[in-house]
Structure formats: structure tokens, C-alpha cells
Symmetry: C2
Subunit: 310 residues, 2 copies
């Protein structure tokens, strides 16, 4: 299974707690720190699982993907570890620190316009030219199974969680979280947290049909993508609810978390923290897990810069 | 002893490692994360030890100190826990986040000019008015014994350290580190790391006489103070060497650390990291402990802001 397959390569990340936050929300909260994961995000799990599921003989021409950042880093890193190439299609407005990190892990970057259409067209061209195998950032059951291992680790370490909150972009992490909860901790509900400004999962979930976001603008750059054909059905089946948070709440939550917890989380991780603090009153008197998806931030462009009063 | 006295109140902080940093310096490095300590800094140890060494009957009129920040927070917090008052004299240019934190822990602040003379005069007046007991930030053997517990924890957890690097301001942490190394891990050398711009310890150590810094300017606001009559002799006796780092190196080290390790360290903690990376070539092929003193940073005024190219 995925957990065994990826164990030699990834980190079993620590779980942090905070007396201050527990008091604020009147609950016991456990933060699964995927910001300390290899490449700084949970994406290392999915990428490693997908890559290690392919027969090495088929990997000679490399792997490829389009990604706004963390999956790109993760796939580059995992490919490099496995001795093959990663071809990465990235939107040309990706944070500088993520572009540099992909290069640092040995990924070969092709820039495109920051639209889903441009990404897909460019990726088709790259695959034709290189003969590489596509590893989609989230709409792939091997990716979902890899991401699921974060929650597996958490429920193995923390008993009787009433609820787990995970961010939702394309839904790879959220559907993996829901699968692990359903299999390994059936009493645990799962709630997705999404930026209001990229609320395709919230809309799709409540309208019970796929409603994509078109070029959404949010500081949570990892959550701009829309659900896919693999992730949406799992989320409809196994996720209890989806809550949205506005940009100001996410920025406030991110800054608060840095100040109090002394750990660097990226905007996409601030979204479930903001949901915990403001949008899920039913956490009261319960045991709550929160998945901090990653810690890759451009320190030269922090979202509160120029807003010193926040 | 101090460790037993403070155990119910303080945190046994985790030790972090980084394959990247190990590779960069060709050594095995262990970071003692006092940024995760109560109040965000090792100062919680000394303040708790000093306060819990005083008979409760003598504490009724409170405690007082002058401090540029972390000791102020720590004493306010420890006093509040012990059910007494803390009167804090702070320079009026202290970072906003530290002032607010002192207030948040219930400390009662008296502002003064940012000179040692103004601090001492104001404190004398406060003590006269309140009848409180002074707890000096570092020149007090109970404080030194408290700070020493960080290194005790580290050498209990990590065998055979060749070297420990600690920042030096007033010398409470460095002399405590040296005492713990001498008693509990006699094979371990201790090196102090100091900002070039506040190099009184370096000068005093090499000239073998006390040479104070007068109003030094450095981003490492916790390291502006000069050694004292309690700390200087211990440092002369037990510390192997002191190395200085320039401001640019500290800023670079701080940013690098946030980016790679995903943890928030304050400028005073970046100083030993910068020393590790640039000024202590003899770490090569050895096992090195680094004390990260704290994580209290004003996120609205990061030292690299406006210098995006760094």
C-alpha cells in the first residue's frame, strides 16, 4: 500500500498543539505539520507514490505535469531521487521561490499563461516532444493514495479525532484525507476548507455537480485549481461539509500562526486554520485534526506586507 | 536543582535537524528549538527558575526588571503563573510585538530611553515605588542556572556533541550553556556567537577585561546588552571562543532558515546560525549543537523587507 511504498523517502511529520489555540476554540486541536515534509509540502507523498508505482523500465523518458508550485517541486524531487527527469509546466506568475525550488530539485520548467487551458495545451506539447509520462497534480488515484498517508499517520498517532479539517484545491489532499478517515478512523468527520475567492469545491459540493473556478484570485495559490473527475466523487461520498473563508481571514490566520506557533505555513495552510478559528463552531468540545499542507512561501512578498495594521 | 524546579512550567523543546544544512557545513547539526519555548524564548527558563527560587511570602510586592523584550515577557509570564506582579522597564524603541506580548502576559510596563543608564535609573525608581524584587535579565546566578537547562536537555538527548554554539548578549544563555556543557558533557566545547555591531563579549574575551558596548545598533535586539559581573567570569573560564558575524550574514541566515526549516527564528537566533554557516570552519566532520534562542519577531518589520534581492 501507499504508506509502505513511500516510507523510505518521505518524512513522518510531527503533530503540534497549542494551549492558546485550544483555549480560543474550546477544543483539542492537533496540527499535522506537512510544512516540515520533504520539499515543504504534503505533495511529496503523492508524487513519490505515483512515481514508485510505475515500473522503473517505463520511467526512462521522465515524467511531466502542470502545477502552480508544490506538486512541481515534489515531482522534480521524486523524479530526481528515482533517477529520472521531470518536465514541469508552470504558470508564468508562479511565486519566484517556487520556480527556484523546482530548478533546485532538478526539474525542467516550461512556462505558460496562468490559465488551465494554457497549462493543458503546453503540457500536451511537452509530452509529445519528450515521451514522458504525465503525473497529474491531483486527478490521479495514485496521487490521492499518497496524500492519504498524512491522515493515516495522524489517526495512528492521535486517538478519537472527531473531525479533520483539510484545505481543498483540486481535491487530492481532501479526498485522500476522507479516504483515510473512512478506512482507518470511521468515527472521524472530514471538512474541507476553501478560499471564498476560489469556491468551486464549495459550489460543486452543494450543487452536487461539477462547477469549476475560472482564473480565481486568492493568496492561497495552491488552492486555485478546481476538482477533478477522480477527486469530486470521493469528496461527494465521504466529506461531511466544505466551508469557505475570505482572504482577510486567511491572512490574519497565517500571521497569527507564525507569531504564536513560530512555524512557517503557506497561505493554503492558513485556509483551514482560518476555518477552524472562524467557520466551524461545532469544533467546540471536540478533538480536531488540521492538516497544514505546506510551508513554501515567498518571504519577499508576504500577504500582510504594506498592511502593518492587520 | 534548576531543571527540577522549572520542569512543571516550561517546555522540553524539540531538536530539529536538516539534511541540507548538514551537507552545507559537512557536519551533523542539532538545533535546540527554544523558539518553541513558553513565551517564545529560552528566557522562560531563567525567569521561572529565579522566581521559583524566591520564597512565596517574599513575592507579594512583585518582581521587576529592565529588558529589551524576551526577559520582560518571560518574567511577566512567570510572575503571572506564580500569582504576583511584574514591573517591566523597557526601552521605548522595543519592537511593538514584544511590547504587546508583555502586556498580554500581564506585565506592567514603564518606558525609558534606549540606553543602559536610563534603564537602570528608571528601574531604581520603580523598585523604590513598588517594593518589588529585581530579577536582572542575565547578571544573576539563578537566571544563569535556568538558562543552563536548555543545554542540559540537549546533551541528555544528543550524545557526543563536539561543539555547542550559543548567541551571546548579556551572557546569561552562553554562561549557562558553558556550565551545563562543563558539568554534563565535559568533552563538548562551547563557542559564543555575537553580532559584530555589538561585539563587547568578543572584545572582553580577547582582551581578558570587561569592555562594554555603548548603544550598539544591530537587528539582533536581544544581543545588544553587555556581559555582567556574574556572566563574564564564567565565560572567561568555560567558553572556548567567541565569533562575530555581520548584519548581512545574520539576515541571510535568518531568511534561509525560515525558507528551508519552515520555522520562525528571531534575529538573535540567526546569529549562531550565521556563525555556523560562515565563521566556524572547525565544525567540519563533527557533531554540533546550536541553540536557537527564540522566535519573537515583529512580522511587520522583517529585516529583509525592502531588500528583495537578498
Amino acid at each position: 500500500m501507499a504508506a509502505d511504498r513511500i516510507r523510505p523517502y518521505i518524512r513522518k511529520t510531527p503533530i503540534f498543539t497549542s494551549a492558546t489555540i485550544n483555549k480560543m476554540v474550546d477544543a483539542e486541536v492537533f496540527f499535522k505539520c506537512e510544512n516540515f515534509q520533504k520539499v515543504g509540502a504534503f505533495k511529496a507523498r503523492g508524487a513519490t507514490n505515483a512515481l514508485r508505482s510505475i515500473h522503473p523500465g517505463q520511467l526512462t523518458k521522465g515524467v511531466s505535469t502542470h502545477s502552480s508550485g508544490n506538486h512541481a517541486q515534489a515531482l522534480s524531487w521524486a523524479a530526481s531521487l528515482a533517477g529520472t527527469e521531470a518536465f514541469i509546466v508552470m504558470p508564468d506568475n508562479s511565486p519566484k521561490v517556487k520556480v527556484e525550488a523546482v530548478r533546485g530539485y532538478g526539474g525542467c520548467i516550461f512556462f505558460c499563461e496562468p490559465t488551465l487551458e494554457a497549462r493543458e495545451t503546453t503540457l500536451r506539447r511537452v509530452i509529445e516532444e519528450t515521451g514522458s509520462i504525465e503525473i497529474h497534480p491531483y486527478n490521479d488515484s495514485r496521487i490521492v493514495a499518497g496524500q492519504a498517508t498524512a491522515t493515516l499517520e495522524m489517526v495512528q498517532e492521535i486517538d478519537n479525532l472527531d473531525l479533520i479539517i483539510a484545505p481543498v484545491g483540486g481535491g487530492g489532499l481532501l479526498s485522500g484525507t476522507a479516504l483515510s478517515a473512512a478506512y482507518f478512523s470511521p468515527g472521524t468527520r472530514v471538512i474541507g476548507a476553501e478560499p471564498e475567492a476560489a469556491n468551486d469545491a464549495w459550489k460543486s459540493f452543494h450543487e452536487k455537480r461539477f462547477v469549476p473556478s475560472l482564473n480565481p484570485q486568492t493568496i492561497a495559490d495552491g488552492l486555485k485549481t478546481s476538482l477533478g473527475s477522480v477527486t469530486f466523487p470521493i469528496i461527494m461520498d465521504l466529506v461531511h461539509d466544505i466551508r469557505t473563508v475570505d482572504e482577510e481571514s486567511s491572512i490574519r490566520a497565517m500571521k497569527f500562526f507564525w507569531e504564536r506557533m513560530k512555524i512557517v505555513i503557506e497561505p493554503s495552510s492558513a485556509v483551514p486554520v482560518a476555518a477552524l478559528l472562524e467557520k466551524i463552531p461545532e469544533v467546540r468540545h471536540s478533538r480536531v485534526g488540521v492538516i497544514l499542507s505546506g510551508g513554501n512561501v515567498d518571504l519577499d512578498h508576504l500577504p500582510w506586507a504594506g498592511h502593518a495594521k492587520r
